[in-house]
Amino acid sequence: MKRKSFILVLYFGCFLTLTGCWSQKELTDLAIISAMGIDLTENGEYASTLQIINPSNVAGGLQGGGAGQGPPVSIYTATGSSIIEMNQRASKKLPRRRYYAHTNLLVIGEELARKEGITGILDAIERHQEFRMTAVIIIAHGVKASDLLKVLTPVDKIPAKKIIKNLRFTEEQWGEVFTLNLQDVKKDMTAVGKSPVISGFSIEGDPVQGSKMENVQTSDPETTLSATGLAIFKEGKLVDWIDGKTARGTVLILDKIKNTGISFDWKDKKDVGTFQVIRMNSKNIATMKKGKPKITVEVKAEGYLSEIRTAVNLTDPKILIEMEDTIEKTIKEEILLAVEEGKKVKSDIFGFGQVFHQNHPKEWQKLKADWHDVHFPELTVDVNVEVYIRRTGLRNNPSVLKE
């Protein structure tokens, strides 16, 4: 009997301790933050923008029927002298508990990135046990992070999700921008021979108009968000923006491109053909020649011709080989364009220094100290491109063959 009652007490003890409601968080008490933006205010403080999901307005039409009444996200802002402080201050306005585990996007205002850099800000986020290092980071190009997060977007209702998917698919299909998470940024920033490049996003149209529901109620939204170029960092601070071919060349060296279309000239006619890349990879090889560092960028691209608007006989393999040479030159130009830009701002965004560190550790000790300012701008960069045109799509010759 005594034993039985003891076991009973033990059971109740377990009920009390094992239910796990020590610091329980009810779902209805959570403010799920989908994105966080950080800006610099005029008086030098930080301003944070929290994009919070309104669950009832996101749910599909079949489930609640109430979707579409209000905006899918709400914005809360606060200012403070530290990241944690201002976010906690935001709880004065928030009816719920802030929940960071689903924060997939961090937006840094351009002014903050230029003036103060991003090194300090990331510390609070790294240390936080709720925040994920796999969150994507972007820079608000020419606008404030708060304005960027206010814009409502069609198709993908949650703006943070739209931005992330936008980046991912652009990276896969075109290049110019790429997804970079906080961990990657941290890795790049701490490596001596590499500076981070972070994709930028900007607002097209009026930011105020973009924050209204009308923005998503038309087929042609007045205000949209679009990826615009890459931000080059040096010593943790934003120094320059690159765009277009320069940006794609950079992404190419970083070996992030999967598919892209490369336009090339053919016999004095500008941009008449397009080479669709299916597989592409690049490799940086470091060599030392008489104490001088040298980098060889080796690119291999494989694909097919997806467009040709001039008279050319594509059934002739010799012509295709000739065409491969032209495309190789085009890619090489793009890469050199990017390298020149990097050299101009004296920031090794390609990680060439890292390659030296990994393969020539002894020589690197001498180069390390002023790699970005002295050795990188003087670096000899060779580019070897190999292009293979495997097929020409569903047609052989273009219809403009006869001239």
Partner: protein, 366 residues
């Protein structure tokens, strides 16, 4: 000494779980920077030699636990003092391991929960296991061994297939030369976790098939060494040296970076489970050694009655041992691995072995 028998395979499993224990969770050998994995591999070889020392000692007295043969080798007085010192050492390390557990859990999951509650709940489980005896612990080990390896293999496949591993991060090899690597080996990794296998001297007399002990032990140490080295190499190649050094628990950060197909992510539970399993066995075996030592030294008839008081001591020690996690870690490096481990895990056993050799030679002459 209780009447129990465990098999050689069970011993192998226990040794492996014990070695992986907390070592797989914290950044071991990180003093050697990118070459941490080399340092671990070298320590494994050292660990095998240390194990052979412990094994030779066991061979001299196959029926006796360390506290018993210490008396025979050093005489009653000194033998008892050394045996007592070992009990204190085992209790202290057990408390340290328990503290590790609490700190890990509090750092990343149960931020609001007091350390006392977490440690109490865990020590209750350990007390229960110890009371059931070594046979039950060994069988639990067999069960969890499969679970742990299943998780490890799945985790490994996930990390590889998410394309996170960048082997270039491990380059350049030996940037600071062999001296740094050997310094780390001699001051840290040789003892934690490989030298710690000395605790198993308490368990060796229980093993049935005595012929297999040597191979089971060596296999356990070599396999755990390879595993630890692999984990550290993966950590560094995924996180880069800076993040791996700055992370309190690099394995957690590595597991957190897994992202596959938009839904296979946030697998923190992998880390949680391996942590609970590893720490459970490490703390239990130290605890068991302390209980067994006390039983023999003070000639207790019922060892199970000793479990509660010693458990309580370990619990309170684990909380009062340090004010902060940093203090706990510093104490571990500056005191435990610098003075306690070399003495209890290397010097004392080697000294005992030397005496055992001399005594036996005399006996043969007679």
């Amino acid at each position: 000494m209780e009447k129990a028998k465990i098999g050689a395979y069970q011993f192998f499993v226990l040794l492996l779980l014990f070695e992986l224990g907390s070592a797989v969770l914290v950044p071991i050998a990180i003093g050697a920077n990118r070459d941490a994995w080399i340092a671990i591999l070298i320590s494994t070889i050292g660990g095998v030699f240390l194990f052979l020392v412990y094994y030779r000692l066991y061979k001299f007295y196959p029926q006796l636990t360390p506290s018993e043969y210490m008396e025979k080798l050093l005489g009653k007085f000194f033998g008892k003092i050394l045996a007592f010192a070992y009990i204190l050492f085992f209790v202290y390390i057990s408390a340290r391991v328990l503290r590790d557990f609490g700190e890990m859990l509090l750092s990343f999951a149960y931020v609001d929960t007091p350390l006392f509650i977490v440690n109490t709940l865990f020590i209750l489980v350990i007390i229960y296991a110890i009371q059931k005896g070594i046979e039950v612990i060994a069988r639990t080990g067999e069960l969890f061994f499969n679970l742990l390896y299943l998780l490890a293999v799945i985790g490994f496949i996930l990390i590889v297939s998410s394309g996170l591993i960048d082997l270039n991060q491990l380059k350049p090899f030996l940037e600071q030369g062999w001296t740094t690597v050997f310094k780390v080996v001699v001051t840290e990794t040789l003892y934690v976790p490989f030298g710690e296998a000395f605790v198993f001297s308490v368990i060796l007399p229980y093993i049935k098939d005595t012929k297999k002990i040597k191979y089971a032990g060596i296999a356990g140490i070599v396999l755990s060494g390879i595993n630890l080295s692999l984990v550290m190499a993966i950590n560094i190649s995924v996180l880069g040296i800076d993040l791996a050094t700055r992370s309190q628990f690099p394995l957690l950060t590595t597991v957190q970076s897994i992202q596959i197909a938009e839904f296979l992510e946030r697998l923190d539970v992998f880390f949680m489970v391996s942590m609970v399993i590893g720490i459970f066995f490490k703390a239990s075996i130290y605890f068991y050694a302390a209980v067994s030592g006390t039983t023999i030294l003070f000639k207790f008839k019922e060892p199970s009655k000793l479990v509660y008081p010693i458990g309580l001591v370990i619990l309170f020690m684990s909380i009062t041992i340090a004010n902060s996690y940093s203090e706990h870690l510093t104490e571990g490096l500056d005191l435990t691995t610098r003075y306690l481990h070399p003495f209890f895990l290397v010097l004392a056993p080697v000294f005992l072995l030397a005496i055992a050799y001399m005594k036996n030679r005399k006996r043969k002459k007679k």
